[in-house]
Symmetry: C2
Amino acid sequence: MHVLIIGAAGMIGRKLASRIAADGMLCGHPVDKLTLADIFPPSVPAGFSGEVATEVVDLSELENSRRLIAQRPDIIFHLAAIVSGEAEADFEKGYRINLEGSRLLFEAIRAEAEVNAYCPRLVFCSSLAVFGPPFASPITDEFLTAPATSYGTQKAITELLLADYSRRGIFDGIGIRLPTICIRPGKPNAAASGFFSNILREPLAGQEAILPVEETVRHWFASPRSAIGFLLHGASIDLSGLGVRRNLIMPGLSATVAEQIEALRNVAGGDAVKLIRRVPDERIKTIVDSWAFDYQPALALSLGFRAESTMAEIIHAHIEDEIDGKTGS
Amino acid sequence: MHVLIIGAAGMIGRKLASRIAADGMLCGHPVDKLTLADIFPPSVPAGFSGEVATEVVDLSELENSRRLIAQRPDIIFHLAAIVSGEAEADFEKGYRINLEGSRLLFEAIRAEAEVNAYCPRLVFCSSLAVFGPPFASPITDEFLTAPATSYGTQKAITELLLADYSRRGIFDGIGIRLPTICIRPGKPNAAASGFFSNILREPLAGQEAILPVEETVRHWFASPRSAIGFLLHGASIDLSGLGVRRNLIMPGLSATVAEQIEALRNVAGGDAVKLIRRVPDERIKTIVDSWAFDYQPALALSLGFRAESTMAEIIHAHIEDEIDGKTGS
């Protein structure tokens, strides 16, 4: 089995490649080739017995997608995207990469299939940013996708293309709308959602962290381990019962900042909690208040997608995968 | 005021141009120029005192949109589309015209605005085909757009682009999701929905018509006159309160075939009803059964959009506008 990961140099892409390399199997079949593509050079995961190819490519050129698809990968993970802030700041770049890049990839698959029968599984990393306010509570699988950002618009459009190309049998696609990833490994970054991870990760490492919002703020979380689990599960399951509804809200843990802090206290003690410094930030509060936090991912649950059910599990996943295990950070 | 109608040679486009020509006004301002564009030669409406320009253009070429937009129309009606059946039969043509054509038009406006401040009103003719089964009952303004056809996908994507371009202030857009138009003027055609009009229009003209489905079939209707009213209202009202939710289910009349026939009997008598011949057609029944018929267009109603409230009104609109008036058929 040949697996292609597009966007392999990002946090999720690296972890996904490491996991597939470690498992050596996907969907019950041995993986003999792993192609890792990104606009940045992807790193080669350790311990894989099969062949690894790395490709540094710009997806907004049809020829690049054609070259990747000409190798007829059985499973394609499409994770490549300009992030939300950049897609908002740079209109043309956001549309070129997040919309045109996806469309050209889908067109490359269509062109390949016209030459010789081909219908790969395609797992697309979408986002809850496809939803915009005013939100329903909870947001169900039938809630309108009316995004409030260009990033969300580009994801929602790619979801529609994915559903139509799948309906026509050009590929067998699924869109995975990820919750906010927590605990995100690495250093604190400037993303408005960064503090949800920072207030756990930094104290666990004996470092101070800034909390810019009230403890009553509620959000929708899954660990990096769950995110990889969603993508692998999406690659493996039968999608034929989904009809055109192929873009799924992923399960997550609904938790407040207070519940995050309480879980940190239980796992790491009161001294860790003392490392959280409250520095209210109106800009971040306004952004966070515009996000939904209440989802009912009935379809994904019925298909066997599973996330953590306690914040303690999310913290333990981080300790096992990042601190003891020292992988993928 | 300069008004541009793209797709001016179609049934709705012709009626819209005739109405604007007759009114001579739009949004309280005199219309001094009307540009009628289509891939087929548009006809020039009678009785207009201003300048009329006709353009035969292929919208899937950016240069054509640029040329139309370089004249900086104040109001743009975008009605051009490959119809549902053709978009399903010809994948590439459907995406080229219905998606790329719209996107290039939007991009032409963005390019023009970058040269010199410009933010026209854009009224896009969308479709209830943006919804796919399983349907909610009723379908509300918050229901997911998960289309079951390529045509519906292309309309749903254009809606998303319209909302994002409007949010960014590139134009001031509104998407109008039309009900099934009844009574459609002209000859019976091969469209699966054609019988809804045929069973009224043909008997009114003393001709036989075929009814291929049960009388219990329910559907969502508006007259051509209402459709033009929606487009003109969409061109006129303040949209600033809509946020990113700029694509609206239009009001319609929910009626069964039995109710259509009863209205025909009341307006035209029992002899007209006898001209309806029942010839069950399983293919058409299957298609019609896959359509939704129950909508709750709360947002459009709150903005003052109005359709007929009885089938008799729909029949009288046809008699006045098409039979006595002899216009636009």
